[in-house]
Amino acid sequence: MTFFEDPVVFLSNLIQDLLVGLNLAPSVVTFFMTLLGVVIVASFGLIAVIFLIWLERKVAARFQDRIGPNRAGPYGLLQTFADIIKLITKEDITPDNADKVAFNIAPILSVVSVLLIWAVIPFASGWIGSDINVGVLYIGAVGSFGILSVLMAGWSSNNKYALLGAFRAVAQLISYEVPMLITLLIPVLLARTMGLMGIVEAQSTWFVVYAPLPALIFLISSIAEIGRTPFDLLEAESEIVAGFHTEYTGMKFGLFFAGEFLHAFTIGVLTAILFFGGWRGPGAETYPVLGVIYLMLKALGGYFIVMWVRTTLPRIRIDHMLNFNWKLLVPVTLALLMLIAVLDKAFAGTALYLPALIAANLVVFAGLMVALRQLAVRQRKERKRFKKRPVAKPA
């Protein structure tokens, strides 16, 4: 095996040989290699954020007919570094009556909860932090640390607005975890494994072809999980200052900020892995580097959609947010899961498999549209009953 075929395996073999040559015990060598892997994967995530913040600001600027950062460095590439220096040099304030320990742990936990997802991301054939057999469930589990971090931040700040933001966050994040976890089950069902590597390897046809609707719902509920516009009720400036991170300053705020951006990109990566074939692409089996490039391109595609939604839609009201989840997403995902499970059992291995699954998606989508139309008609009738409703007229 040469360096150009598979640089990561080549280098890790090289380092391992070097350590064994130093007469270290095998358990120490394994420990050191694991530690090295953790450091590399975590650093990759954190360094990617620096680039992602620049990218998001540029893209958002284009959507709003601006140019975006363009002063520091070529195309404003060094803008984020300037921002980091600014954040580090800012005064680090802990409020007097804050709960010191919880207040300081919360931002770290918020970043860690996202970085933990990267441990099970298959970057390319054979490049994965840990190919555990419960990968998909693991993603759901580490998400609960994110919820906890928001609540800890909101409560420990000893600020009413922060606490209100935290309450909203819990209502939203726990609600949207339900459709997200159910849609996560659909790739598991199609691939017959919970390991993310297995899911990627099973996608000789991308799962988005079998299950377009679950892919869309996964993306929507994931955007709600990050708490971005249109689901940014946890930090709605016009109502509750900045929500759970009102009291945070300097780099502690920076950690929440970085965590959010990294999470948004991670959503893109997860969508790519679960529904768009992950690292699969021409030549990715023999040259894993190509696989990483394919995965990152697909992930940036997903990230672009997240940014697009963010810059286009306004914030939705809190009752709409909860209704949308519990009355629309949850029933639809449950119906889809049951339908796909039954059809999968009935048509697995036959030529009808793909048409049956696509038909199921279409039927659910059509039913959804009919139901929404009826709801709209009913609401319109309701409004017509109030003939004398106040209407703004020119004087």
């Binding site: 709960d99 589990a141 919820i147 919970m194």
Partner: protein, 171 residues
Amino acid sequence: MTPIQLVFLFVAFATLWAAFMVVTRNNLVHAALFLVIALFGVAVLFVMLEAGFLAVIQVLVYIGAIAILMIFAVMLTRGDVDDIPDITNRYAGWVGLVAVLFFSSLVILMAQWPSFTALAKPILSSRDTIVELGTALVSPNGYVIPFEVASVMLLAALIGALVVARPRKGK
């Protein structure tokens, strides 16, 4: 002593310490946060027993639910979270006695079990443990009856919660 034993001792003591802190804190939110550490310690122990599925479910179900618990702690205790001056009541002595009795009888029972001092064997099965667990849960020779009974009970609880929370007509 192997590294894995060192990790076990550290995690076990951390879990016990956190569990002790849960019942001795004056502040409900602090107690809930220590409960997170204790439950996470149990999840780590599951990982060390090669029960990855249980570990993940432990984190997902228990630590995920702590957030709700904290919300209740904040909202149901006089609007703000004051420190509770005295966390014991007049039954504290009796409850402590029952706890000690229960724990010591458990230790005595466990000590008589021959595998108590044996080291954990590596899992020999070549099949995926998740597949084994899944089939065991729904196979008639496995645990299908407890599994279904638990499902029906949870469903009943769900419907019960809906009925209780539903606004009554005429109000």
